[in-house]
Subunit: 320 residues, 6 copies
């Protein structure tokens, strides 16, 4: 049973549109707060988009995700799970990025997650563009390479951009494999689609053993079948979940910088997250929500609904 | 054959963007108009949202629904039904609410529908938030408890809010059952989903015999199968149809106050309304369209398309 | 000199788009926090719009105002005042309203402000619709009737609405005068304009001695001259400031429910707030910001810029 | 005193967001209604934009203007005039255009206004693009050439477009002068600005004696001084008022197809209409409101506010 | 292998948001450019909407389609086809319409396409409203009647509008059949739905042998099965592809003037275009994208994604 | 007289919404085009925003500015100047930035402008965030320090951000003075306002002799008087014009990342640009237009209207 201090404010006590918006109405703790020792899952914002090669905006993601997250109530309607009563969760605030210095920002992120890990917390991240995953993995995958289930319309496995630039939101997992943070044999990418520059990314995946499930296969087999395979690939070892909101069709998630049409609908978007039960999740992120491209917050609301499904699975894991 | 006085203005005579927008371009009659005696179905606006506990706006629903309803033509493309030539329909205008007095507004609504019933009309309502259904049912269910097919992502069966408040858009059907306006054994709720405060609503449903079909079941079985069961539940006795636009996935119906992701698409949204054929519909509502959250009118257009399907089924019933 | 604990987070440390948005990036304290004793000015949200007779939305005002308030930096560019270093300011969170019970909400608000006054704080309120001012004044004006400088396009002095309803956003100051919370001889209303139902409100103003400066006079005389008169009217006794954002022309402040064209521009909107220097401000509010009608946040940004000007004047007063 | 039948519905009886939106909540009468004989001013929609050479949309103008017009109350806040109690006004509905046949539409409009004139009504028109003024003037100016006060950022005096096309929204007044519908010596155009193709329009104006007051002169002299001259130019003979919403700066009126920056603000926009007192207004139009470019309705609200000012002046004239 | 001159600018050389937006970043050639002789497929804009009977805007379609088309990369993600390296493609610019003269515009369009055909190019058109297809077919179908696969929610087979008007976006294919430009036995229309005026269009289709596949059949059978039949109908003879964006459900393609709910999703929208492989495509259009109704560009991005699929099939054909 | 090759396409030949949007419908020439030798003014896009510390988006500026620039016609309505017939102007395309490498991008920009200068052209730049001005000045100010008239709400004179970062859009002119690219004694900054971190920027200005005219002074003295002083400060020596769109009040220019309320209106925004006549303009930029924050294009239209005024003054200079 969790500590009532960590229970979200109920919408019956304070209407859901009211109050300062922390993630899911959880208490906000800084890393130097003594109560950090009691926290099991920390939700963290990474308001950063310096890796974006196309339309910017994910730096505004964490704030809009927090705003819409106050619409999340205590209980999972599909499974009955009540995560906030099973484990202690908290909003750890945002990593302070340096918007004008990409390398400095990457270091700041890794340092922040190092502290989170030292404190023994599982981090659930609200991005930020997809390059955010790299400095996070530099912390989480330091000890040993992780498996990864990766939902996206892009592989983010490219070698470089613009004539040699190594760090963009199209390259994080190439770097992570090169740096030994991910075990490519235990990596699966689901939902890949859209026009591409070339096949350089897929050739790399093939070479190192990353399994790509393109959208055509996803639609043909259905989410259940695909997720069975995905879970077999990562097995029971520590696994990272990286969920790019552009995995979902842009009609359901217009607020993102590099949309690709023809994706899953919102029900499927939830299903795949719900089917992560049993996976040994050591960290997860939801990235590429770009508020300037969806002022309505619909994309962010879908994003936090996905985060809530992941959180429920982490809670189930921790409760054993 | 209906009276030509009640035929909508054709888009070939006056383009669909032109003219003062009454519902489906029907004639507007007030309740004291002598021609009321000829009307069989009255479309009524309830511009009211005082029961809203979250994001407001449905008070603007009737006007936007009227605006978009001028896009509806004379004939149902799927079934060939031409309702306006089968029965006399009219726009009865809006119930005048008191936006600053909830109880006064509920009384005003019930009084209005009492007059509509006295005149022998079947009311088709454009809400308004979902609390609107309660004062309507106080009129329609006065004689005997009704059955109900209820499309929604929420049960609206909660006991109270904010420490004892009885009347909100989350409680109307709890009240209606308590007041004997609905026969819970003949009530089915379809599409329920989203995070929840707790299971108090579902426990009540179980206790009184309301059948809840959650969205997971809906997606697994499909609309046809679900609707067969729904029609068995209500049988051939008088039945109310309550259609909350948030039944539909927010990508198709963003203009609502309490969206829940993972819902049906627009084709399914029409299908379930079309499959109401044969149900003894004594009244119906389409509620929770909130224009401030969808200025484009897409949600309202879907809403009136659903209302048109329901109207076609009422017309088929009345023509026998 | 203020306590560094109460200094806002600098945009140089954490970019202004990052972090959980409290008002002006101040620390958030609840009323039962022991540090409350050190606070001099408390910024409070009243997320409530049950008094709205037209387009709703101000219940969302405090959150959007907080969001945009992170764009406010430490120093007033025009006057050089650095309020957060002069006095201890804090975000006191939101009063929890009951969206479905107007009278209950009014009581909750008054109770909250009673506690704020007991703690010796000056409250700066972010509304909420204009009815919010009444329960606030029931606390602030309890001891003795206050003077008021009121910026608005409407007098909000009507007797009642909808056939006898006493409490709407068009009646708060009629009630406040009747209840002895305001001294009408020390009340001035600036910017009044737009079409009106009748002259019943102005007749009341004339009868009790409230000075109305309509927009035509404002534009003819200019802000400086008008504010000199306004300050003479309220004199040196305790005075409340009530600033309805619809005072400003809707091109500058579209996000409001009852706009009236032909108002002041944003520079004048700031000027009149800046010219409140020397007034004995015992409380102030900025009301009627309605985010659903301005998703961009421009209105809210203007709103918090006005709040900052008022805060600077309070800081000057307190520093003497 | 006007017939109470013609009094608008009060916002105290039916909230302003409720009800089927006729112009200013007036009764809707078709031209063959027997009560037409009692009407003195008819408000008419011309939902047509086939003359638009740039961004389309004014065909949607009348509906949005009606929608926003329900925000207009009974009394002019600045002058105290209560037009609806002085004269009988009605909404005459929309002229049915043929969107795919420009010449057919022009004939339909002229025929409609011929009937309006036969019935002895003064028409107040809600456009429609500016070409609408030509078929209207063919009716109103048939007996004798009219004077005109024309507010606009463009002269609309061009000879032709696209290699000889005579009828566009850039040519109506060239045609009207050529056809003897306007007396160019009694025509004044106020607010002209923006980049131009060439000076062909201004050369024509000079040649026939039309007075152009460019925006630079308007800003330098101010609205009062300019309007004194304008009224001298038209004198006491019958005069048409043509008000293109793009006269106003696009910050105040973004919903129009050919905006030009640097225009008057909304207060000045109202002032010039209010200063039409004493002019013998035989007809007036407000044109070029294009809802697709301002879904918020702000432009339309300014538009109807201007129409209300004009209507008040017509009422003053008729009451003598 | 194509000439490198005709290769699009890569996003690795110039980011995709940068540069003057030609279609798919191809070189822009006018019809009198000597390099025209090398071009195999010309992409052409028809910025025209004079045939629109409802909400206007497709005149803005080509520009927004160009803008979003810079998001299309070199390679088809699903099939691996790299069309720009297989054949020489170019942007031929826009046909200059006369927005105020429908008949003149139709002639201008036919003349433009006559030149395109003389030069031996296959035209891929970005509309414009659906009437655009008629003047194009007058060029392409001049030699012999064509087959056509037509994706739409409307048949566009009506006899006339507004009492005899022959040329609107609801009549082009009635005219085309009458003029012998299409062989009705080789015409199939897919996705038809929505309310209708009457069955006059479907009666005509039946009489001349056009096959209509309504949306109910499409959803029941699925895209694959339907496309097999469609390809049998057109066979191996020359065929035109006409793709109205309102074929797709408005949640995926809101930017159009006459939406009908209940349509295919974006994946199906791509699938049907991809399954055109093997069809002898002699020309194709994508019409009815109306930017004023989707400023976000989502509809246009789906539109160009569909155009890219069609282009890939043309490339496969030309390469044999 | 200019070469007709360089005349923009007329809206009478091709409607203004049609065609591929180059700046002001001028011919597009790359730097290696032989006709570059004939060009006198080159309009250049810098689609880059890596210096942005707050809300991003100016990387999309050049494209939207081009789009809206097709609304600019041949002749200045206020002055009668026809710049495109006086001098040869061309669109030089966009500098290709590296969105993920700030330093690389700065080098690319400087290299591009070095070539422009070598070719003897005067560059008129469409940004881009304000850091863009620094790499441009590194080219233009290389030979000798320039004077500058700078319109902005911020000084952009800060020392560094985020603990030492030298290159952001808040520091370009500090760097430019330090690098000897600007002569601070000949620099004037107009319109400065908004809350500030501290006075470090103004202290620097005072120390080196930069003249700051804050908004309060601007409003008090008026644009004419201020511009007389500004022109005295820069004198007759070579001068750069840097125009940040956030100089203008956000009601007129909402599409920008760091708005400050209380600024000039659009007429004043044009006036100050028009009053640059006689200044020896060696280069100019219009920066910080951020399309994601104004999808309507209003801000961009104001931006290009300002660019057109500057261009007219350059044309007057070159024609002597």
């Amino acid at each position: 049973m969790s500590d009532p201090f960590f229970h979200p404010v109920s919408g019956f006590d304070l209407p859901r549109f009211a109050g300062i918006p922390s993630f899911m109405r959880l208490p906000h703790l800084t890393l130097d707060d003594p109560r950090i020792a009691d926290v099991q899952v920390g939700i963290i914002g990474v308001p950063w988009d310096s890796g974006t090669t196309n339309r910017p905006g994910p730096r505004h993601g964490p704030r809009q995700l927090r705003d819409m997250s106050t619409m999340i109530r205590a209980q999972n309607g599909a499974t009955g799970v009540r995560p906030f009563e099973m484990i202690n969760c908290a909003d750890l605030g945002d990593v302070p990025p340096n918007p004008a210095d990409l390398m400095d920002s990457m270091n700041r992120i890794t340092e922040f997650y190092d502290k989170v890990l030292s404190a023994g917390l599982i981090p659930l991240t609200a991005g930020g563009d997809h390059l955010s995953s790299l400095p996070i993995l530099r912390s989480l995958g330091k000890a040993a390479p992780l498996g990864m289930i990766h939902f996206d319309s892009h592989t983010d496995l490219f070698k470089d951009y613009f004539g040699g630039t190594q760090y963009t939101h199209g390259t994080p997992f190439r770097r992570a494999v090169e740096e030994g943070l991910l075990d490519p044999k235990r990596v699966v990418q689901i939902g890949i689609r859209g026009s591409t520059y070339d096949s350089e990314d897929r050739d790399f995946a093939d070479a190192v053993g990353i399994r790509i499930i393109p959208i055509e296969e996803f639609h043909a087999r259905g989410p259940e079948d695909v997720m069975v395979e995905a879970k077999e690939i990562v097995g029971t070892s520590p696994t990272y979940i990286s969920y790019d909101i552009d995995f979902v069709d842009p009609a359901f998630a217009p607020g993102t910088g590099t949309p690709e049409v023809g994706g899953p609908n919102s029900y499927q978007a939830l299903q795949v997250a719900r089917m992560l039960d049993g996976v040994d999740i050591v960290g997860a992120d939801l990235v590429e929500v770009s508020p300037p491209f969806d002022g309505s917050g619909s994309t962010a609301f879908l994003g936090v609904s996905i985060m809530f499904e992941i959180l429920c699975n982490i809670a189930l894991n921790l409760k054993g």
